[in-house]
Symmetry: C2
Subunit: 337 residues, 2 copies
């Protein structure tokens, strides 16, 4: 059991490498501060399709296509596709798997899906069960809005703590060898439930899960926050980011320090009032990490990072039935050789 | 790459063992031909809860609790929980993961989820990333009916090829050592799409995926159907079972032979007109395999079996938008030492 580290973490003896990534985003993301880091920007949120759902699927297809294309990898050389998204029955990922014809594992961890996929793919390759995996996830503002909240036509007034679901998809090629950041450790999350019931305040609901997984990661690995050039949560936004700092301090006596950031705060101009508390959605961590962060690792700006993606595991039905919003966070560390 | 077998299959050098199982079912399943093989039968389909969704969750909780309880395994000794179900955002599995507090991977493969979970758990344990995993899945006739089709109050007339979604949950404890059937090989499915569009005819939609995965399994492993005492698909029912036999014969020159059965045909009395084409749902394969089949392996009646669970990866939205129903099948072989 040399791979297991503490209670919830893994150290990979043969860490696989993210050898390429692909990102495709919507028009709003293409105007944000990370715009130069995306591979493909659509000019309209329909992406030339007839429905929001089909548009989301096109984003995911593009991201995968770009990630494979950068290395001229034919589909049939990829051993596994790990994919998931926010839509009911993860249809974006399901149809995408059909289009690529790669053996497929469908996963669901809400906005933690990107890192859940990275962990499962790393376990699979590091365990010797394949050489190449493709990991993908997506979200779309309008598909998420109308599925989880209100019809998009309502133009509901949003709360100050609301987040803006990212329209974007990210994909990563994970290989048992090659150049790029290696996935060296992983921490698998447990579900945390702090009795939050407001589906408009995702940051607050997810922060305790983020804090628990981060604290567990440092405890299991014996590392401390200074070990990393950057600690990044996936889509907590302003409220969740502050709460995570506070929870780590108060519950776990852990100071995340100045290197702690959140993808939901990086992705949009925080002065834009439309954004409210920041970005969210499966695509938020995916496009930020596979676009912005990946470039900075490849050019040497960042050497060691920890990414913890958080997901809220509720559904509209569970909220309507009075249930709490249970949340989870999974983390991986990426290190340049 | 000694673990990889052909294009889509794996042979496990250190095959993990299903050391115990748990099943909890609804009242209709408790009247069927497999009734004596279930651990817990609820007398009403509400299972003492206030909603169908909460009832489904209770079934899953029971199944997990029984599977762990049979071996007196405390929750905190389980390294991972792999769970998924048919409900939007897999809420049964998410809440269940909260209740057990085990590091959680949420998965979605529609009715193929049970075997998808077994494969991912086997990869994880066989790769040396843990010693104990819990795998669970569930379905509930009334939650599925109202989510995928019509409000339960409608009492819609059903087509002759309709299947009856199983109310039941199954759980398996997978261990790196112990007594019981070993998971020796796995075949990871690709998504098949034969342009079926009728969400009431799941058997026909899923049969090509089942046939493709079965044919790939025999091609990858070099085994033939006679190698197994039983070849079992998950929930194809009468229509899908016949179509799979035919597809295997016509497309792949593969005769599945007399040992080919389907869980959807075993679970209910086929003379009951309510059942129409047979059983379906995530729970169908789970309770049949973890209840009926597991007992027959443990008492020596069956030595080697192949289980292929099939899933239809559509959603009501994708069907309403005119999309086909893409399908997948995953297979594992279970062998007694």
């Amino acid at each position: 059991m040399t791979n297991k580290l503490g209670k919830q973490s893994l150290r990979f003896a043969s860490p696989p490498v993210i050898t390429s990534t692909g990102t495709a985003v919507g028009p709003f993301e293409a105007q944000g501060p990370l715009k130069d880091d995306f591979d493909f920007c659509y000019r309209d949120e329909m992406a030339g399709e007839k429905s929001f759902e089909k548009a989301e699927r096109r984003l995911m297809y593009q991201a995968c296509n770009i990630a494979l294309g950068k290395q001229h990898i034919p589909n049939d050389q990829v051993d596994y596709l790990f994919g998931g998204d926010l839509l009911n029955q993860i249809i974006s990922a399901g149809f995408n798997a059909r289009d690529f014809g790669i053996p497929f594992f469908g996963i669901y961890g809400a906005c933690s899906t990107s890192v859940e996929g990275l962990i499962l793919a790393t376990i699979t390759l590091s365990g010797g069960f394949g050489n190449l995996a493709l990991i993908t996830t997506s979200s779309h503002n309008s598909t998420a809005e109308r599925q989880f909240r209100y019809p998009t036509e309502y133009a509901c007034q949003r709360k100050p703590y609301s987040q803006w679901t990212v329209t974007g998809a990210g994909a990563a090629v994970l290989s048992s060898s090659g150049n790029g950041p290696k996935i060296t450790t992983a921490t698998v999350g447990k579900v945390a439930d702090m009795a939050c019931k407001d589906p408009l305040n995702m940051g607050a609901a997810m922060a305790p899960a983020a804090a628990a997984t981060l604290a567990q990661h440092f405890s299991d690995t014996g590392r401390n926050p200074e070990f990393y050039d950057l600690i990044l949560t996936g889509d907590l936004g302003k409220v969740g980011h502050e709460m995570t700092l506070e929870w780590c301090r108060n519950q776990y006596q852990l100071d995340l320090g100045p290197n702690y950031q959140d993808c939901g705060l990086l992705i949009y101009d925080q002065n834009n009032p439309q954004v409210h508390a920041g970005g969210s959605g499966c695509g938020c961590a995916a496009i930020t990490v596979y676009g912005h962060i990946y470039k900075r690792m490849m050019n040497g700006e960042l050497k060691k990072i920890l990414v913890a993606a958080t997901g809220a595991l509720h559904s509209p039905i569970s909220c309507q039935q009075g249930e709490n919003i249970p949340c989870i966070a999974h983390a991986v560390s990426l290190e340049m050789p």
